[in-house]
């Protein structure tokens, strides 16, 4: 039995899809000879050749534009953003073209745009962001944020097979810190399905990405006090698993919404609205959010530590909510 890291799981997922389907190819900055900044595409150039592993100029707009064109011509491109922060350079291609292509012309754009997001690695304001909400706000896209190696592999495969554009946010803090034994069969994780990471009865913590682990660690601490957290990992943000969210809220009656993204316009706000619209009569306390503050991600390690939601934040808010 060997453990597979999160980053390796992504590599395996792309690799397997490329083996199975020769329409699948990767493109991006340094994905070929160098094997990718985080080695997600390591070895692919040797295995699949330079027609399917394409080093591009430093132009995210160009990368996504080329991917869209190839997709319209029947290919299944997987475009890498070296850091998810720079996806903003391709914003127009993604939101105005890829997202609306099927709606306007009936032509699906089966691209995957993937890249490392998230903080905790002292990357500073341009290498630590969580840009998911720009895309969650765009009808026509799908957005996923895996938190485990299994999901990383299962979701990249689903994303590649999906007939529409999928934005795939990897969490770079998890790349080599999270590992697990993966099944050898050709499994996928469906887009739009959440997973309960911990069953609990007192408070639901609804989260995704690296914050899943903050929630689980907080749950361990709170367990000693008799506070029983349920941890729901959304895995997909667009579409998201509304049924799972409502079911968990109806079970525990108290809810904490936790994400690493900043607060205003974050996914927690959307969830809070849905919960109060559809499960108001199941609430036994206020809906609480734990998020990063509304600032850029600081470079200074102590400031970054302050910025990111912590175990102690979840413990504190859970205690307050439990007592409510």
């Amino acid at each position: 039995m060997s453990l597979t890291t999160y980053v390796e799981a992504i590599r395996q997922g792309i690799w397997e899809e490329m083996e199975k389907d020769d329409r699948v190819f990767v493109l991006g900055e340094d994905v070929g000879i160098y094997g990718g900044a985080f080695k997600v595409t390591a070895g692919m150039l040797e295995r699949f050749g330079e027609w399917r592993v394409i080093d591009t100029p430093i132009s995210e707009s160009g990368i996504v534009g080329a991917a869209i064109g190839a997709a319209l011509m029947g290919m299944r491109p997987v475009a890498e953003m070296q850091f998810a922060d720079f996806i903003s350079c391709a914003f127009d291609q993604i939101t105005n073209f890829a997202a609306k292509c099927r709606y306007r012309w009936g032509a699906g754009v089966p691209i995957v745009v993937r890249g490392p997001s998230g903080g905790g690695v002292h990357g500073g304001p341009f290498h630590s962001q969580n840009p998911e909400m720009y895309f969650v706000h765009t009808p026509g896209l799908k957005v996923v944020c895996p938190s485990t190696a299994y999901d990383a592999k299962g979701l990249i495969k689903s994303a590649i097979r999906d007939p529409d554009p999928v934005i795939y946010f990897e969490h770079k803090f998890l790349y080599r810190r999270v590992k697990e034994d993966l099944p050898s069969d050709d499994f996928v994780v469906p887009i739009g399905k959440a997973a309960i990471r911990r069953n609990g009865s007192d408070i639901s913590v609804i989260t995704y990405g690296a914050m899943v682990y903050i929630a689980l660690d907080a749950a361990k601490e709170l367990e000693k006090e008799g506070i029983d957290l349920e941890v729901l990992d959304l895995r997909s943000l667009l579409p998201f698993d509304k049924e799972a969210v409502l079911e968990s809220v109806k079970k525990t009656n108290k809810v904490i919404l936790l994400h690493e993204d900043t607060q205003i316009g974050g996914f927690a706000g959307e969830l809070a609205a849905i919960i109060s619209e559809e499960a108001f009569e199941y609430l036994d306390g206020p809906i609480r959010r734990i998020t990063a503050p509304n600032t850029p991600v600081p470079y200074s390690p102590p400031l970054e530590e302050f910025f990111l939601p912590k175990i102690s934040d979840v413990v504190r808010v859970a205690r307050e909510l439990y007592a409510y």
Partner: protein
């Protein structure tokens, strides 16, 4: 057995509580009907309350310094045959309808108007827990509805923050044997809601410090003043105008009439002159005798002038009703009487009601003049400075004249500066040309 319950009277509309500042009789002491029994302090007035019946003061239920809601029983007067304490203690703060008071109870009886504004004083002062007051959550309310539970059955039993009824509370309530059935009867209330935290007595003692800082809660009167002043500042657009008035003629008139007044045992001060001048001017400038209600200016025919009286324990504004109908003698008498009653805590609610204009006297300790705050809902207040001899220029000659500075704070929402100054010029002209 003859027993009369003594209640905390309602001392005017919108007053719902009073503080007992002093018991004038001891427990067991004989008391005659209408004999002063205790002193109270409310938002509006301080006064003595007479005994509603003759008998023996059987029990005192509310201690000095305690604030209780109106109609709370504060004492029991018996015929002396019953042992004190035991019986009274059972229903100490239970509110009683006002009709329990035997006899006229001159000061104590709620006025007809007061009754109109609070038809059920008992209900108001001791609300039963309604669903609005019970803190719960959407979930708890849904569970309650599904199980046909009246949440008031759980009042005071919530274990959540601020006594909130939580899911756990209602679920364990349901699990109690026999409780899942329809609404449990409402629990009788605990008497804890009766007397409030004791405020300090209104008569100030010399400050005794126990540390660097002493914290003293506001008296009912101080609190009422504080709230009223801030409310007025927030309500009106205050502007103050100042007028110098030569008092030569009114002082001469005063000197001349003093003896005559004294024969009628009335003290004549300068104040009645200003009241009369103001009353006359108010007739000519009705907007100064008005109020603003929403978008409507309410002009008032009666000219009721309030006079701010400084007391050791605060400030009170008794009102001279229909001041325009009184001559100087009548005004002086009314002023004497109200001032005395205020100082002896004998003002009635009527004495402080329905003022339409106010005069205050910031100069009595030598101040030049002050900028008074309007006494809501009135729209103007006149301040009187101290009268002092000053050098003034008259026809290019310097003369010595007794001068007073008057100020008028007016509400610019309804009164413009021109009107205010015309009003004050009118007052000035009357005073300076007083017929001696």
């Amino acid at each position: 057995m003859a027993e009369t319950k003594v209640i905390m009277p309602q001392m005017g509309e919108s007053i719902f509580e009073g503080t007992i500042t002093k018991w004038l009789k001891k427990k067991g002491e004989r008391v005659e009907r209408d004999e002063p029994l205790f002193e109270i302090s409310t938002d509006k007035i301080d006064t003595e309350i007479p005994a509603p019946a003759a008998g023996v003061l059987q029990d005192i239920l509310v201690k000095e310094g305690q604030t209780v809601q109106i109609n709370t029983v504060v004492a029991v007067i018996g015929d002396g045959s019953t042992k004190p304490a035991a019986e009274g203690a059972k229903e100490p703060t239970q509110p009683e309808p006002p009709k329990e008071v035997k006899g006229p109870a001159p000061v104590a009886g709620p006025t007809a108007e007061a009754e109109k504004t609070s038809p059920e004083p008992a209900a108001r002062s001791r609300p039963s827990p309604s669903e609005e007051e019970i803190r719960s959550s959407p979930l708890v309310r849904r569970i309650a509805k599904e199980h046909n539970i009246d949440l008031s059955a759980l009042a005071g039993k919530g274990t959540g923050i601020d006594g909130r009824i939580t899911k756990t509370d209602i679920l364990s309530y349901i699990e109690q044997p026999g409780k899942a059935a329809p609404a449990a009867p409402r629990k009788p209330e605990e008497p804890a809601r009766g007397p409030k935290a004791p405020p300090v007595p209104p008569t100030p003692a010399p400050m005794k410090f126990t540390g660097d800082v002493e914290r003293v809660p506001l008296t009912a009167m101080r609190k009422a003043i504080a709230e009223h002043m801030v409310m007025s500042r927030k309500t009106s657009a205050h502007v103050t105008t100042f007028f110098e008035v030569d008092c030569s003629r009114i002082l001469k008139a005063k000197e001349k009439q003093q003896a005559e007044f004294e024969r009628s045992s009335a003290r004549l001060t300068v104040t009645p002159f200003f009241v009369q001048a103001a009353a006359n001017a108010l007739k000519r400038f009705p907007v100064v005798n008005s109020s603003l209600e929403g978008d409507t200016i309410v002009y008032k025919r009666p000219i009721n002038i309030g006079i701010a009286v400084n007391l050791e324990w605060g400030l009170i504004v008794p009102v001279i009703k229909n001041a325009d109908e009184k001559n100087l003698f009548g005004l002086a008498k009314a002023l004497n009487e109200l001032g005395d009653r205020a100082r002896n805590k004998k003002l009635t609610p009527d004495d402080v009601k329905d003022g339409t204009f106010t005069i205050t006297n910031p100069g009595q300790y030598g101040g030049l003049i002050g900028t008074p705050i309007i006494n809501q809902p009135q729209v103007a207040i006149m301040g009187m400075g101290g009268i002092k001899k000053r050098a003034v220029v008259i026809d290019d000659a310097i003369a010595i004249r007794p001068i007073i500075v008057l100020s008028l704070s007016f509400d610019h929402r309804v009164i413009d500066g021109a009107t205010a100054d015309q009003f004050m010029a009118d007052v000035q002209k009357q005073l300076e040309n007083w017929t001696v």
